[in-house]
């Protein structure tokens, strides 16, 4: 099971479910937020908007003085065949949304069930 980690200046909080993590996000925004899945780590630096995988920044150009609205959700896919659930998979989405020079910009990392990933977004 994944763990969601909120890293503040002076502490880190580890959550074992997304509901708890997002509740904490509403109270106080950390400097960094990341998901640990198995031996892999996927994070977003909320002061710069940079998204990283296993410590390596893969996206994006920093947008100066922007306030980022944090995005963190999971996409659940359930498959029924005949009488039973034959498959249940979860993808994770982590990133931010902001307005810069009048444009809505969104960047997210989409982490697939096999831990492959891609950067998606608009603007």
């Amino acid at each position: 099971m994944p763990e969601w980690v909120l890293r503040y200046k002076d502490k880190s909080i580890i959550c074992t479910d997304i509901t708890e993590a997002n509740k904490l996000m509403k109270e106080e925004q950390p400097e960094e937020f990341y998901i640990v899945i198995g031996n892999s780590c996927f994070g977003v630096i909320l002061t710069t908007g940079q998204i990283w995988v296993n410590g390596n920044v893969i996206c994006c150009d920093s947008i100066p003085k922007s306030k980022f609205r944090f995005i963190n959700f999971q996409r659940v896919k359930i498959t029924y065949s005949g009488k039973e659930i034959v498959d249940k998979s979860v993808e994770y989405f982590l990133g931010w949304q902001t307005t810069y020079k009048g444009k809505n910009i969104q960047r997210m990392i989409n982490i697939k069930p096999d831990l492959t990933y891609e950067i998606i977004g608009k603007g």
């Binding site: 997304i18 509901t19 509740k23 959700f73 498959t79």
Partner: protein, 166 residues
């Protein structure tokens, strides 16, 4: 805690709700969890409509963006599954007694690939969401046959249900 997902079926004139149904078998009776061998559909006739909802319980912040499609399974001759699922011009179906007459609610072909956006609403809107335990809008289905549909079981279909949870 995260959300717990179940399918819920409504039946009867006074709407009896059964949560956690074990199958969506179509048949010639308005009842949940049916054995189709006991309630076969005659060639050229329709199944009773299925009035299904997605039920979310447990602890979560938000559920939204429900997509449903038939991800595998092929029709036999003359067979089709109709539904109210749609990505445009959506309006939530209000419950009415399931019928085996040709449905006036399930009028769209069941999508056979992932739709581009949500196709089942919450609270009457495709952009709606749940922030506490509750149900989606109704997902209405009907299996329709023609006189040329061969006797015997139709092929098993697989339905995929997807939602976003934050």
């Amino acid at each position: 805690m995260t959300a717990t997902f179940q399918l819920s079926e409504s039946n009867g004139a006074s709407e009896t709700v059964t949560d956690g149904i074990s199958n969506i078998n179509f048949g010639s009776v308005d009842s949940p969890n049916i054995n189709p061998a006991d309630h076969p559909i005659r060639a050229g006739e329709n199944s009773y409509e299925k009035w299904i909802r997605c039920k979310f319980t447990g602890t979560f912040n938000k559920i939204e963006n429900i997509k449903i499609w038939m991800s595998s399974g092929t029709y036999v001759t003359g067979e089709v599954i109709k539904t109210n699922l749609t990505t445009s011009g959506y309006s939530a179906a209000s419950y009415s007694t399931p019928t085996d007459s040709t449905s006036t609610v399930a009028v769209n072909d069941m999508p056979t690939s992932e739709p581009s956006g949500p196709n089942l609403g919450i609270g009457g809107s495709l952009s709606g969401s749940l922030t506490s335990e509750g149900y989606s809008d109704y997902w209405v289905l009907q299996l329709q046959t023609s006189a040329s549909t061969p006797p015997g079981d139709v092929n098993t279909k697989t339905f995929t249900i997807q939602y976003d949870e934050s």
